[in-house]
């Protein structure tokens, strides 16, 4: 069983989808219940990964699965090559964890064509999990594109008023990026073949060892980086995100924020950066600049939004800026902070979208001006909303703090010091737009009579928020659970990229970076 755990986990939702197709389309309850069970079972299947201590001791790939898939001798070879390491571990867990929550959130929200919705959600889960565990670039690409189709339909069919525009924009943006990456993937493969390197299909572990000339790396990094930057999204390629987020149904927004955006950041960490380390050095200043612009710009635009959901969407642009800045720091603090911030963003922003969903289901509007004083009517909701808001801002004790702090610290320690300084102002902006929004929506007196009769959260809604809140505090108070399984893989990756990692034992997120403040990796590391 352990031998094929990843396959089982990846394809179980797909299997579930096939069954969903045979459930009568009028049976709403059964469709939702069945999908919930499938996603829960998938989560249970993935649990052994989280509890396996091997990730804490070894940074390599585990749970390997390998089979020859397409082998046309002399032409090309692709393998079914799966594995998970500390980098993908928590992203996989985040995916299987967030899916049941997303399904629960549809209980009242999705009423038309439930069958299609559920089938697409399950297909999407297979795509996401497959992309995280693929070790063959070709296989990765298949899963990567597979995610696109269900999301396109989720936005286009169940989305808001402007859904068609948002769906098509989402699809075309993402597809253009990935198509260029496809050419780059093929190039890497044939370069490897022609240079006589020892390769294993499109296996990335073998590609890591390639000695690509700088000139090729430059273009390849551009292709990969462009594709992932669209997905992250990084300024100025972010314009599809607010549209997609705003128009998508709640479950779609949650998955989009929690998992799909992580594909971009994960893509950088797993593919673009380690495959083309020399070119990366050239691009870091540019990319870091874009991160900082994204942070500031995202925050400022978020501040001005009148639609809560759009505000959260723009806050995503800013948050992802922190993630990428941490990652581009190329040291342990930054990388670990960035990786953790990916999870945090998934938890907090996922939760925020759920919260927006709750009030939208009650009032069918998301305009801030329509609300005010909700805290009086919905005390439980107010509490949960407050916790999530604070976590999104990054208050110490919540998850957001650990990730953002480490990411910024890492950047400060590296050659990106001034970028970090400027980016830090984004933390303040975050507090401004989030708290201001909270104030306008929740506090004060009820001015709009439509809000007089709002009901507080029901049991289902509380149940689906609780796991998220648990992780808000868990990561906030004891992040080491996550760091210790992440670090060996990150160290290995940094070493491989030619950097001597500053090894950080992150027990206390506040103390750790300070203790190692003296040691930082040089930027512009000399490569020929």
């Amino acid at each position: 069983m352990a031998d094929s755990l990843l396959s089982l986990m990846t394809f179980f939702p797909l299997l579930g989808m096939l069954f969903v197709l045979f459930i009568p389309k009028d049976n709403d309850g059964l469709l939702k219940g069945f999908t919930l069970v499938v996603t829960l079972i998938t989560f249970v299947i993935s649990l052994p990964l989280a509890f396996n201590d091997v990730f804490a001791t070894s940074g390599g790939m585990h749970y390997r699965e390998f089979a020859e898939w397409i082998n046309i001798g002399g032409f090309f070879q692709m393998n079914y090559n799966l594995g998970v390491d500390g980098i993908s571990l928590w992203l996989v867990m985040l995916t299987t964890f967030i899916m049941p929550i997303a399904v629960l959130s549809t209980w009242k929200a999705v009423e038309k064509n439930t069958k299609g919705f559920m089938a697409l959600l399950l297909l999407l889960e297979t795509g996401m999990l497959g992309a995280f565990v693929s070790l063959d670039l070709f296989l990765f690409y298949i899963f990567w594109e597979l995610m696109l189709i269900p999301m396109y339909f989720l936005i286009g069919i169940w989305g808001g008023k402007n859904r068609i525009y948002a769906a098509v924009k989402f699809f075309i943006y993402t597809a253009v990026g990935s198509l260029l990456m496809l050419v780059a993937i093929i190039f890497v493969y044939y370069y490897a073949v022609q240079s006589g390197a020892d390769i294993n299909g499109f296996g990335i572990q073998e590609f890591y060892k390639l000695d690509l000339p700088y000139n090729a790396q430059y273009w390849l990094f551009l292709a990969f980086g462009f594709s992932f930057a669209i997905k992250v999204p990084m300024f100025p390629l972010h314009t599809w995100l607010p549209d997609a987020h705003t128009e998508a149904p709640t479950a779609g927004s949650v998955i989009l924020a929690a998992v799909l955006l992580k594909m971009g950041t994960y893509g950088y960490v797993r593919f673009a950066m380690p495959l083309f380390p020399d070119a990366l050095q050239t691009f870091i200043p540019l990319l870091a600049t874009l991160c900082v612009i994204g942070i500031i710009y995202g925050s400022l635009v978020a501040m001005m939004q009148e639609d809560v959901k759009k505000l959260v969407a723009y806050s995503s642009v800013a948050h992802l800026g922190f993630v990428m800045l941490g990652v581009f720091a190329m040291n342990m603090q930054g990388m670990a902070g960035g990786m953790l911030q990916m999870i945090n963003h998934g938890v907090s922003t996922g939760a925020l979208f759920l919260i927006v969903g709750f009030i939208y289901e009650r009032r069918h509007t998301r305009l801030i001006t329509e609300f005010g004083g909700l805290a009086h009517k919905m005390p439980v909701f107010a509490t949960i909303f407050m916790i999530v808001t604070l976590s999104s801002i990054g208050l110490p004790g919540t998850n957001g703090f650990v990730g953002e702090f480490l990411a910024l610290m890492g950047a400060f320690e590296s050659g990106l010091r001034w970028y970090a300084v400027i980016a830090t102002s984004g933390v303040i902006f975050a507090a401004v737009y989030m708290l201001w929004m909270y104030q306008r929506v929740m506090l004060g007196t009820v001015t709009n009579p439509a809000n007089e009769n709002l009901k507080d959260l029901n049991a289902r809604e509380i149940v689906l928020m609780l796991p998220l809140l648990l992780f808000v505090f868990w990561i906030g108070v004891y992040p080491n659970t996550f760091f210790r399984k992440m670090n060996p893989a990150l160290e290995q990756m940094l070493t491989q990229m030619g950097h001597k990692p500053a090894i950080v034992e992150v027990h206390n997120p506040v103390a750790a970076p300070a203790a190692h403040a003296t040691e930082h990796a040089p930027a512009g590391h000399g490569h020929n």
Partner: protein, 487 residues
């Protein structure tokens, strides 16, 4: 021909080298007789008989796998290469026939000759694929074309169909002229019309390859082929013909005959004209870009789905040309694989269109399929799968096919061509998506009750979906076959 050659040809008669087309032609003639004696309007048995004929021919064809047969003094070579293309033509013809019966009845032309003509076209396509003499190829091309001219204009009371037939005929005849003149010039230089003979002559007399007559002959020959595969700038006939012809015939034209044309195209280019490789790849590089771009950009503004698919088929011919530019084994076997894939995905899409069209097919527009996803969910999913495959989205066959071709281009160092190719794919997303937007994101205005599923069309859609998904997820075996089919 002098007496010796005739003698030689007679001695070299080898019927097993033309067995598939022979079987098919005999069936075609039988069908003609049967349709004379059958009652007008009762064409269903004839349709099934022609389908059986194709199945039998398919079995005969496949039995020749790995058993190359040469015959008729080197005019015909039934190798794996030909067999592979023959199978594509047979599959295309079979799918066409499956979707035709109900269609012809709906449109009011239930005539048996239709099926016989399809069989003859297919037989012609087979000669093209297995021809190793320019004259055999020409013969095949003419048999194929003449039948197709008739089929394109089959609805004699419809102006559009007449226009299609006539336009196809005039331009087709014109391009045949180019082709023949090219053959004549090549014969003038090399003294032979045999593909391998030309290559041998040029190898022995290197001066020949820079002979202006040789170059002109080669270019004229290629022009003829480029017309047949609808490559820009020789694509102008395609939209009108594709839109006007009966829909199953449009589907067939875009798959079977095009594949056959590519078969002859590849053989002639890569064997007979190998000495001109540098010039040809340079020209084809430009033509491939032109074809992809013209097809995709004009398709963007089409409202009629048939016409849109016509332009999209131009762009797909452009992708296939990329495989020729690459000029390596991956490239041309990639074209073979792509043609097979294209047969499934494009004919599948047309099969759905045939089903949802009303008499006269004026409703086959982007707006005409509004809300189909809710009224006819199964058909809409099928059409979506075909469209996604045409876009080249994994895990469909369209992706595997494009990957194969672009891999060839990258391997030969044509990175920019591959980049232009994928960017073109990106453009194509928009117009394919438009159909899906209309099907799923718009509310239905009609109930699509006229679209009644029938056995034949259902089988053709199922076969096409199976092809698209199987070749997408497990393309290995067929890719391997394509590789073995290299000459």
């Amino acid at each position: 021909m002098d007496a010796n050659l005739v003698q030689e040809a007679i001695q070299n008669v080898n019927f097993s080298a033309i067995m598939p087309s022979l079987v098919l032609s005999v069936f075609g003639m039988v069908l003609l007789l049967v349709s004379v004696f059958s009652q007008r309007g009762k064409t269903t048995p004839i349709a099934w008989l022609s389908f059986i004929a194709l199945v039998i021919t398919g079995i005969v064809t496949l039995s020749g796998w790995n058993n190359p047969q040469a015959g008729f003094a080197g005019s015909v070579l039934l190798d794996n290469f030909a067999t592979f293309f023959n199978m594509i033509c047979i599959i295309a013809a079979a799918l066409t026939i499956l979707m035709s019966d109900n269609y012809l009845k709906r449109e009011g032309y239930p005539v048996g000759e239709y099926y016989a003509l399809i069989l003859f076209t297919t037989a012609g396509a087979m000669w093209m694929a297995s021809g190793t003499d320019l004259m055999t190829i020409f013969l095949g091309l003419e048999v194929l074309s003449v039948s197709l001219y008739v089929l394109a204009g089959f609805f004699r009371d419809q102006t559009r169909s007449n226009e299609a037939g006539l336009k196809y005929f005039f331009l087709g005849a014109f391009s045949t002229g180019f082709l023949l003149y090219g053959v004549a010039l090549l014969y003038g230089v090399t003294g032979t019309t045999k593909i391998h003979g030309i290559a041998e002559y040029v190898a022995a007399n290197s001066a020949a390859s820079s002979n202006i007559m040789f170059i002109a002959g080669g270019m004229l020959l290629l022009t003829g082929f480029l017309f047949k595969v609808a490559a820009a700038p020789f694509h102008m006939w395609t939209p009108d013909v594709y839109q006007g012809a009966p829909t199953p015939i449009t589907a067939f034209m875009s798959a079977g005959p095009k594949a056959a044309a590519f078969a002859a195209f590849i053989r002639v280019t890569m064997v007979a004209l190998e000495s001109m490789q540098a010039d040809i790849t340079a020209v084809f590089w430009v033509l491939a870009v032109l074809t992809m771009t013209a097809g995709n950009f004009i398709a963007l503004s089409q409202k009629d789905i048939k016409r849109m698919l016509a332009y999209s088929s131009i762009s797909h011919a452009g992708y296939a040309l990329v495989g020729l530019v690459a000029w390596n084994e991956i490239g041309y076997t990639g074209i073979m694989f792509y043609m097979l894939v294209y047969t499934f995905m494009n004919m599948g899409a047309f099969a759905v269109l045939v089903l949802i069209g009303k008499k006269g097919e004026d409703n086959l527009t982007v707006d005409g399929v509004k809300g189909m996803g809710y009224k006819r969910p199964v058909l809409a999913i099928a059409l979506s799968i075909f469209l996604l495959s045409l876009m080249g989205m994994p895990p469909t066959a369209g992706f595997a096919g494009k990957f194969y071709i672009f891999a060839a281009a990258v391997k030969s160092g044509y990175i920019w061509l591959a980049v232009i190719g994928v960017l073109n794919s990106a453009v194509s997303l928009y117009y394919y998506l438009r159909v899906m937007v209309s099907m799923y994101f718009k509310d239905a205005e009609e109930d699509f009750s006229w679209a009644v599923m029938n056995t034949g069309t259902a089988i053709s859609i199922v076969i096409a979906i199976a092809g698209v998904l199987l070749l997408g997820v497990l393309p290995g075996p067929v890719m391997e076959m394509a590789k073995l089919a290299g000459f």
